[in-house]
């Protein structure tokens, strides 16, 4: 009995019960599809992190209130950012940031719920983000709370179309500001839509748009650009001691955080890994359940086809022939499941991308991996039923109705 002959016989066997065979593969389909989807999602998350690194640069120190520390968000204020700018050496610039959400009007358009980002004049340099037209606001304009605004590329398009917006007026909330520039097109990077924001002097934001507490001058983040990577440690130490002194706290137990881009990436990678581990479990468990389903159906099939097995034995089938036949039935089931699962996984990751719910990057290696896993499942869970079939006593098997 050759392998091909046994294979075609196993196929005939599966055709006896088409619907049952198809339903049996469902578990494997789900398992394989989730393996591919899992890897696509985590590859997507990694790509997002990579984008973040590129968008921020490696020579940034990021200062913010200590998350989870009660009251900390109130203690990190604009004055702190100014103090860093004045006192810390080897830095290129500081961009303090706070944001608010407002409706805006201007030109022929009106937009609702737009992110208004209050920044300082160092923002373009610190964040490595150039202008398309016009200019950014100056240090003096920020200092004097001048009502000027720089538009994200998308906002400029929405409000003024292709027209030059320099010197035009827009209304943010109830405040009128003069447009002085438009940022270059940047798109969505690491889940932030840079083109859909409006940049204003942070002092103006404090005065006009601070939502929770009018007049509040607390900031969310201060990005500090250092002269070179070698200066990062020194700059971090300077900032830590300066802020500890200003806040009157122990530098070992601060109410603020001083991090590098690497620290933040490490945190995000840990989150991504946890997510990937969870998905790996889901995939593993569904493959396991799929395998048990196959084993169950194969046991039923062996029981129902006992007489057939007895006949084959009488005609000269060796125990090994019978085992191979039923093992191949199980493997065909799992491989068909694997194939459909691969298609489902590819489709699913494409769908995620189209729907925009999650960034996915299909990992080519995941396809043979998932397919191989389904083959292993078929062999592993098909072996026991196939052995049961091979062990049947031909006399008993022939007598069975």
């Amino acid at each position: 009995m050759t392998f091909i002959e046994t294979l075609s016989m196993a196929w005939e066997g599966l055709k006896l019960n088409k619907v049952r065979s198809l339903l049996t593969t469902l578990g494997v389909i789900i398992g394989v599809a989730s393996v591919i989807l899992m890897l696509a999602v985590s590859a997507g998350a990694e790509a997002t992190i990579a984008d973040q690194i590129n968008s921020l640069g490696a020579d940034l120190v990021i200062v913010g209130p200590m998350r989870g520390s009660p009251g900390a968000s109130k203690t990190f204020v604009y004055e702190d950012a100014l103090a860093i700018e004045e006192n810390v050496s080897h830095i290129v610039g500081v961009s303090a940031e706070q944001f608010s959400t407002q409706d805006i009007k201007g030109g022929d358009g009106a937009l609702e719920a737009i992110s208004i980002l209050g920044v300082t004049s160092d923002f373009p340099e610190v964040r490595d983000y150039a202008l398309a037209t016009g200019r950014f606001f100056t240090y003096e304009e920020n200092d004097r709370k001048t009502k000027v605004a720089v538009l994200g590329h998308g906002i400029a398009q929405d409000l003024f179309g292709g027209e030059d917006s320099f010197g035009r007026e827009i209304t943010i909330g109830a405040t009128r500001l003069t447009v002085v520039g438009v940022m270059e097109e940047k798109g969505i990077v690491a889940d932030v839509d840079y083109d859909g924001r409006v940049y204003v002097p942070i002092t103006v934001l404090f005065q006009k748009f601070a939502t929770t507490q009018v007049g509040s001058d607390r900031i969310r983040t201060a990005y500090v650009k250092v002269e070179g990577r070698d200066e990062i440690d020194g700059v971090m130490a300077q900032i830590t001691s300066l802020l500890a002194e200003r806040h009157g706290v122990d530098p070992g137990n601060p109410d603020f955080s001083v991090q590098t881009q690497q620290d933040i990436i490490a945190t995000q990678e840990a989150t991504t890994e946890a997510f990937r581990d969870l998905l790996a479990w889901v995939a593993g468990v569904s493959l396991l359940v799929g395998g048990i389903g196959i084993m169950n159906i194969m046991l039923v099939s062996v029981a129902q086809r006992t007489r057939e097995i007895g006949l084959r034995q009488a005609l000269g089938a060796r125990p090994g022939d019978v085992r191979l036949q039923f093992l191949l039935e199980a493997v065909i089931l799992s491989l068909v499941g694997g194939l459909v699962g691969v298609l489902g996984g590819i489709g699913g990751s494409h769908l995620f991308g189209v729907l925009g719910t999650m960034r996915t990057e299909l990992v080519p290696a995941s396809i043979p991996l998932a397919f191989g896993a389904s083959a292993v499942v078929g062999i592993f869970f098909g072996y026991y039923p196939a052995t049961q079939a091979a062990r049947l006593d031909p006399i008993e098997a022939l007598r069975r109705e």
């Binding site: 009995m1 066997g13 006949l311 034995q313 005609l315 000269g316 060796r318 006399i395």
Partner: protein, 254 residues
């Protein structure tokens, strides 16, 4: 290892089947049942013999052992001058494949396969002298033609009458050129007309030189055989050419 000289009794070359003190015991100790209590039997090549006996007489057990589906607990069984009583499962499977053709009461055709595919099945399990697919098909067609089913090659068993199904089964039994045709109640599921046709077919095979061993409980079917072996309580109680009369006299058959 060589056996002591006095134990070596060479099998008789004229005998296709030779059993010596064949015993089969089911279970152990006090609950042990002796299905065969010591059967000495010789079937010559070309002979057509019937095995009769009431249920519980051991005729099924004897049939299973002679068909190499089962092994005796004690004793020796020579088939075609080979001692098959101690072969492994794989070797027994090969003996069944090459030397024995089975015909069952319930036909035992695979319903998902055509008549032709059913007949080709034993050739798939051949280990020695394997045939390619075309040779197999050729031989299967020839076998089906020889039983008068040349025009039913691609019919499924469900599309055939009982008599036709049993003919497919006989073609299947013959396709590997076995030395022995073993028929277990071959007409048990057939009407009178089909039974008659099947027995005629078996007669023809016998006339062509086939060795046939048939289990039956019907005296008129047993009457077709040259010789009737009657079993009772695991022993041969009569063996002769006077049909089923002796067996019936021993206490009837069922």
């Amino acid at each position: 290892m060589t056996a002591p000289a006095q134990d070596i009794i060479l099998p008789d070359k004229d005998l296709l089947i030779e059993t010596r003190e064949l015993k089969k015991r089911h279970g152990e100790g006090e609950i042990a049942v002796h299905a065969l209590a010591g059967v000495d039997l010789g079937i010559r090549r070309g002979e057509f013999a019937a095995i009769m006996g009431p249920s519980g007489s051991g005729k099924s057990t004897l049939m299973n052992i002679l068909g190499c589906l089962d092994r005796p607990t004690e004793g020796a069984y020579y088939l075609d001058e080979e001692n098959v009583s101690e072969l492994s499962k794989n070797d027994l499977a090969d003996v069944r494949n090459r030397k024995i053709g089975f015909v069952f009461q319930s036909f035992n055709l695979l319903s998902q396969l055509s008549a032709l595919k059913n007949v080709m099945l034993p050739m798939m399990y051949r280990i020695e002298d394997r045939l390619d697919v075309f040779e197999r098909e050729e031989r299967a067609i020839a076998a089906l033609e020889s039983v008068g089913l040349g025009d039913r090659l691609h019919h499924r068993p469900t599309e055939l009458s009982g008599g036709q199904q049993q003919r497919v089964a006989i073609a299947r039994a013959l396709v590997n050129d076995p030395v022995l045709l073993l028929a277990d109640e071959p007409t048990g599921n057939l009407d009178t007309q089909s039974s008659y046709e099947i027995m005629e077919l078996i007669h023809n095979l016998h006339d062509q030189g086939a060795t046939i061993l048939m289990v039956t409980h019907e005296p008129d079917i047993a009457a077709h055989a040259e010789r009737v072996i009657c079993l009772r309580d695991g022993l041969v109680v009569s063996d002769g050419q006077d049909g089923s009369t002796a067996c019936l006299a021993q206490g009837g058959v069922q």
